[in-house]
């Protein structure tokens, strides 16, 4: 058999490769650099590689090709937009992660042991969270660009495995944090087994592992439809798990609550962008002509997801759990864009993903600031009266909540409006009705938190807002500025998305 050397387009792969290179350098720093300089050099490498990757992406933004890597990676307008969103969100999250106060000094030490105390006292930190973040970012950059099933599966694992570990790095409430890592890992591995089984059946159906091959088999209609149906069903389980759609959402409240808040913000925002990017590509490209096989089920899942997320969020007493259920509801809203299966649905989804990701990072950034002597305070009852003590921080948080609720003058309004109108145009009236209803329910619990912060009396139990570090402050300022800007003046970004968002086939 003849061996052909692969032809790679390095310019288009550069963003992914730069981030991976940065991650490898990070591993070397962790192994060889003196401990005193580790944190600063890790932070520098992480930020530098994310910025360099973004610059590399800007350089090739107008190119489009199916052959970035032998037909395995499709580089196109939608891919550029998704990668750009992921890099911006990742950079802002790294600023939050840089506040090492919330990370355990030595993840391997048993909680409560003398080893742990010693490492904290002498500040002997391991900083493995930075290379892990970069590895996850590299996987996220690859995930929405994958155009064959192997790349899709490898990218899925590449983004998931570091996140499982990062969930367990919290400094306080470590048992809870480790427990969230275990849950995330076991359920994640379970869902990726389903995903792989789906890959196998899609391959059995079309005798090809590329999206283009699957698409042409679907159009040709010669394969065994049972295989196609099984393949779509199983692969959807794996993908919907990543975005936390009901009934595959069970992990998300626990993991959001247990993981260190900065990691939660990163995971919530960036994973959602990457996973929805991949979902959009596979449904818009590979499965588009088989829409009768999956659309009814996905409509049902979308409706259940939005309603469930919004209703259950009302009952939450923990701010991180509440944000987790709100992110489940948002996954439902985003599925409306997938169901639309049109150019306007794609545009709306890309806008929504960016706007939602930015607001999520900002909201979790604010959550890291509310602390007492034992660390972060996430119990909502103890947030009451926050607006009277720290009006600025509370207002910023209220602003993000309003953006989640989709109140005009925030990016959330534009996002929701465009995604629901795209779904309506494509004929899914039920999506529109349940979307508007669950948005109303969701607005109720967001506003409940705002009322709690501004109109209740403060509790005197040591809860206070710490002065943010410069990097955390940057994240919060930038995210709230973008959220406001996209709400007041969204036209430039929308025009840009409309002109460049397309999937190459």
């Amino acid at each position: 058999m003849e061996f052909t050397a692969p032809v790679l387009n390095y310019a288009q792969l550069a963003p992914i490769l730069i981030v991976l290179g940065g991650a490898l350098i990070g591993v070397l720093i962790e192994a060889f650099a003196p401990r005193a300089s580790r944190h600063s050099s890790q932070l520098f490498i992480t930020i530098a590689s994310l910025v360099a990757a973004f610059a590399a992406l800007v350089r090739v933004r107008n190119q489009a090709s199916v052959d970035a890597a032998m037909g395995s990676v499709a580089f196109d307008g939608a891919g550029v937009l998704l990668q750009g969103s992921i890099l911006i969100i990742a950079l802002l999250s790294v600023f939050l992660i840089a506040d090492q106060e919330n990370f355990t000094a030595l993840a391997a030490a048993v909680p409560g042991s003398s080893e742990e105390r010693e490492s904290l006292q002498r500040d002997l930190r391991v900083t493995e969270v930075y290379p892990l973040t970069l590895f996850a970012v590299a996987g996220m950059l690859l995930f929405p660009l994958s155009s064959d099933l192997i790349t899709l599966f490898v990218a899925l694992e590449m983004l998931s495995l570091p996140l499982y570990l990062m969930a367990g790095l919290s400094r306080r409430r470590r048992l809870m944090s480790q427990e969230s890592a275990l849950k995330y890992f076991l359920l994640g591995a379970f869902s990726s087994a389903f995903f792989l089984f789906g890959v196998a059946y899609l391959y059995g159906y079309s005798a090809s592992i590329t999206f283009a091959g699957i698409q042409s088999s679907v159009i040709g209609g010669s394969g065994n439809d049972v295989f196609l149906l099984l393949g779509i069903a199983f692969i959807s389980v794996g993908l919907l798990f990543k975005v936390g759609a009901v009934p595959f959402h069970a992990w998300s409240p626990d993991v959001y609550q247990g993981a260190p808040t900065a990691v939660t913000g990163f995971m919530a925002a960036a994973t959602k962008v990457a996973a929805f990017g991949a979902i959009l590509r596979i449904y818009y490209v590979a499965f588009a002509n088989a829409q009768w096989q999956w659309r009814p089920a996905l409509i049902l899942i979308a409706i259940v997801t939005m309603v469930f997320g919004s209703v259950v969020a009302i009952a939450q007493r923990d701010v991180k759990r509440m944000l987790a259920y709100s992110s489940i509801a948002h996954a439902g809203f985003l599925l409306a864009g997938v169901i639309a299966l049109s150019k306007s649905g794609l545009d709306a989804s890309l806008f929504y993903l960016f706007a939602y990701g930015i607001a999520t990072v900002g909201a979790f950034g604010v959550v890291t600031l509310v602390r007492d002597s034992a660390g972060e305070v996430t119990d909502l009852n103890r947030w009451s009266g926050l607006g009277k003590r720290s009006p600025l921080v509370a207002s910023v948080f209220a602003f993000f909540l309003l953006a989640f609720a989709g109140i005009p003058l925030t990016s959330g309004f534009i996002g929701k409006f465009s995604i629901f109108s795209a779904a309506y145009e494509s004929g899914s009236t039920w999506i529109l009705i349940s979307g508007v209803l669950s948005s109303a329910i969701a607005a109720f619990f967001y506003i409940r938190v705002i009322v709690l912060m501004f109109f209740k009396d403060p509790v005197e139990d040591g809860t206070s807002v710490v002065i943010p570090s410069a990097l955390t402050l940057t994240t919060i300022v930038v995210t709230s500025a973008i959220t406001l800007l996209l709400g007041v003046f969204p036209a430039p970004l929308i025009t840009f998305i409309e002109s460049s968002a397309f999937f190459i086939r």
Binding site: A107, A108, V110, P111, G112, L149, I150, F153, V154, E157, L161, Y164, L165, G168, R174, L175, M176, Q178, E179, S180, A181, L182, K183, F185, L186, A189, F190, S192, A193, F194, L196, F197, V199, A200, Y201, Y203, G204, A207, S208, I209, P253, D254, Q257, G258
Partner: protein, 99 residues
């Protein structure tokens, strides 16, 4: 022998694995059941590779093995850490987050 029989076997293995994940209580056993599911998927891939007469399925199977090995590294690290702090690998004990 009819290659479709292998699909039934792999479907059965996958089901056994999935049921195991749901009913077993020890994190290690749950994890082994996940591995069983991955191997069932591999068997399916190789079978389809034979049925379709293309090599892609076998290539995917190799990638799956590599990824499964990585998953073992990460997974066992997490399970061992939990075991060291709780002296138990039962997933029923890990319920601090449930309210």
């Amino acid at each position: 022998m009819n290659p479709y029989n292998y699909l039934y076997v792999s479907g059965l293995l996958f089901t056994i694995g999935a049921v195991g994940v749901v009913v077993r209580r020890n994190a290690i056993v749950v994890f082994m059941c996940v591995e069983l599911m991955l191997n069932a998927a591999n068997l399916t891939l190789v079978t389809f590779s034979r049925i379709n007469g293309t090599l892609d399925g076998q290539v995917v199977a190799f990638f799956t093995m590599v990824v499964a090995a990585c998953e073992v590294v990460v997974g066992l690290a997490i399970i061992v850490t939990i075991y060291r702090s709780r002296r138990s690998a039962s997933i029923d004990d890990a319920s601090l987050l449930k309210r």
